[in-house]
């Protein structure tokens, strides 16, 4: 019984103390916010993930109400936070409902993907 408790305690402490970079990356926050309505065209898309990313293998797409892809800069990681992925919006966006599609690879090679919408109300 003592040995079992020791194993369990070791597992719990390992899960709490090992590097948080070793896990799947899920979207934690985004700017514009997921499902939000904003008044003006955003200058950039900023996605904050739960884990560090490998920037070379991450992508962000912005889909206009017409279904066309909006030109974005190549996504890049924040120099101070490898979990923050940013892409600049290269043109002013007219009002409408936009869809952001993302696909990322965390530092331990796990793939994740997702999408969300935001509205420009103006």
């Amino acid at each position: 019984m003592k040995r079992a408790m020791l194993v369990l305690a070791t597992l719990i402490s390992t899960s709490l103390l090992t590097s948080p970079a070793c896990a799947h990356a899920f979207l934690k926050r985004a700017e514009p916010r997921v499902g939000s309505s904003i008044d003006a065209s955003p200058a950039e898309l900023r996605l904050d993930f739960t884990q560090g990313l490998v920037g070379e293998f991450c992508s962000i797409s912005l889909i206009a109400p017409t279904g066309a892809k909006v030109p974005l800069s190549k996504p890049s990681l924040s120099p101070s936070d490898s979990a923050e992925l940013t892409a600049r919006v290269l043109q002013a966006l007219p009002p409408g409902l936009y869809r952001v599609e993302w696909r990322v690879v965390s530092v331990d090679t796990h793939h994740t993907q997702g999408e969300f919408q935001f509205r420009i109300a103006r």
């Binding site: 070793c22 799947h24 997921v34 499902g35 293998f57 331990d108 793939h111 999408e115």
Partner: protein, 313 residues
């Protein structure tokens, strides 16, 4: 620098290879959907994981009803990215009114599970497996069966993320479930003299209806929930056992288990109430709690990776 560069090349090859380019399934992920490891029913993912401990307390459906406490653990290991094995054991303590308590282990249970299909756009996943309950490996005084049972089982999961945007608040819903047919290795109980009582085949089935707050926040609408709340998945599980053949009582027994699961990056904690569906299934309200470890995320380069074939599908 050279070492760093070669590491990046290796990573690029891994990611660009057809094997790694397929949707990831370890950890119960289909597209944007994460299926948490449910407590009463097994989820469809083939993963490296450990459920330890799972503790439950309930009143049995016997007459008179007995208190039953179970402490169990299950370790799952991927052989390949699609094929995994699990081994589970349960320690049970029973206490009936006016009788001394009985305690002991249930039969050893093993599972061989193969991932068949994942659709990222439709957030769907299907696996098939064989559960073996090894007879006579537990204590009969706590109800362990002397007969080995083989249960071919189908596991499925489906997220509602492909619903139209107009139904956005329903998109965090997901349904997972299992359907298995338990086949005893012998048709009758062993008994001296005349043939023993028939042992029925049993349909073992269950579902889990989940509402993922992580999915709501990251895919539908960010309501600014506190961080801890964004990791919660309220759910209701239901498990049933329906005897199918060989006479005897064919009434279904089962429980409805409403509860909540908190999923962190490496561990998960779940708690559910156990509500018997009828008198034969139990009395009163029991509960079950579980601590679960995602070994593939805790040790991605060690015991958390498949023995053969790389980290990801």
């Amino acid at each position: 620098m050279k070492r760093f560069a070669s590491g990046k090349v290796a990573l690029a090859i891994l990611i660009a290879s057809p094997l790694a380019a397929r949707p990831a399934v370890a950890h119960g992920i289909a597209g944007a959907r994460f299926f948490p490891a449910t407590i009463a029913t097994d989820d469809p993912a083939v993963s490296d994981e450990l459920s330890l401990p799972t503790f439950s307390s309930s009143l049995t459906g016997d007459e008179p009803a007995a208190w039953e406490w179970d402490v169990s653990g299950e370790y799952s290991k991927r052989i390949t990215p699609d094929l995994g094995v699990s081994i589970g054991e349960t320690w049970t303590k029973l206490k009936a009114p006016g009788s001394p308590a009985a305690a002991g282990f249930q039969d050893l249970e093993t599972t061989l599970k193969y991932h068949l299909f994942t659709s990222a756009p439709h957030e769907a996943m299907i696996s098939a497996g064989l559960v073996v309950d090894w007879g006579a490996t537990g204590a009969s005084k706590v109800g362990a069966d002397p007969v080995t049972e083989f249960t071919p089982t189908l596991y499925f999961g489906k997220g509602a993320g492909d619903l139209p945007a107009a139904l956005g608040l329903l998109r965090p819903l997901a349904l997972t479930g299992v359907v298995g047919l338990s086949i005893p290795e012998q048709e009758r109980e062993a008994a001296p003299g005349p043939p023993g009582a028939p042992i029925p085949r049993v349909l073992a089935w269950g579902v889990a209806l989940e509402y993922s707050l992580p999915y709501l926040s990251s895919q539908v609408k960010d309501y600014g929930l506190p961080g801890w709340a964004e990791d919660l998945t309220p759910l209701i599980e239901a498990t049933f056992q329906t005897p199918l053949s060989r006479g005897g009582d064919v009434r279904t027994i089962g429980t409805f288990d409403p509860g909540v699961i908190w999923s962190g990056q490496k561990i998960q904690v779940g708690a559910e109430a156990l509500l018997p569906m009828n008198r034969r299934s139990g009395r009163g309200v029991g509960f079950i709690i579980q601590l679960h470890f995602f070994l593939d995320d805790m040790f991605p380069h060690g015991i958390g990776r498949p023995l053969l074939g790389g980290q990801e599908r």
